[in-house]
Symmetry: C2
């Protein structure tokens, strides 16, 4: 995934989705995202998202010391956050449906054009 523009808006929903599974903190979220396949999400990308989600009341924050490093900020999802997550999921699904339809048609045509040329 080279195209960082594709992540606009997506990342926020994914972070909210991860936090919805249980209390967690920034540094861990980055490695979670990596496990799901999102490569190279830097700290300068994630932390502003957390700040924004917090400011909007979608997550809440609790500071606590870490067993092996500096203080962590643990985040958990709020009721408003759950609503936002559902809304995001619905918007995402609609976007996907439209895009998939266009791409399927385009790729199908490209393939058959390609086959015709070979014959």
């Amino acid at each position: 995934m080279n195209d960082s523009q594709l992540l606009k808006g997506i990342l926020e929903g994914c972070v909210l989705g991860i936090i919805s599974q249980g209390e967690t903190y920034g540094y861990e979220i980055i490695s979670e995202l990596e496990q799901y396949g999102f490569r190279d999400i830097g700290e300068g990308t994630l932390y502003p998202i957390l700040t924004r989600l917090d400011k909007n009341g979608y997550i809440r924050c609790r500071k606590d010391k870490s067993p092996l490093g500096p203080i962590r900020k643990y985040y958990s999802i709020t009721n408003e956050g759950m609503n936002r997550l559902m809304e995001f999921s619905s918007d995402y699904r609609k976007m996907k449906q439209c895009t998939d339809m266009i791409l399927e048609k385009a790729i199908y045509k490209a393939d058959s054009d390609n086959n015709e040329r070979r014959e």
Copy 2:
């Protein structure tokens, strides 16, 4: 789809996908997008995309008069554009895979939490 951020990067790929099906022009692309389910894509959104695609060599432009209005700019896809479309499609698919996984897990958990509370 209220979340316009979700469209970032997506729209360009979709427009390229539509043009790949055959020569077309701006005003028609907007109604195509609408038919696929993208609502309220304004001219101030689409035309800059076309300019960009053209400048990057992904599409080429030909001016011709319209049977019922002012001059049209007809666009068709180039070889580079086809490559870009395939690349976009691949990036999009990867993004989708990661996002779907996270959302499915989150929604599943939300559902079962919900059911437990009812029991």
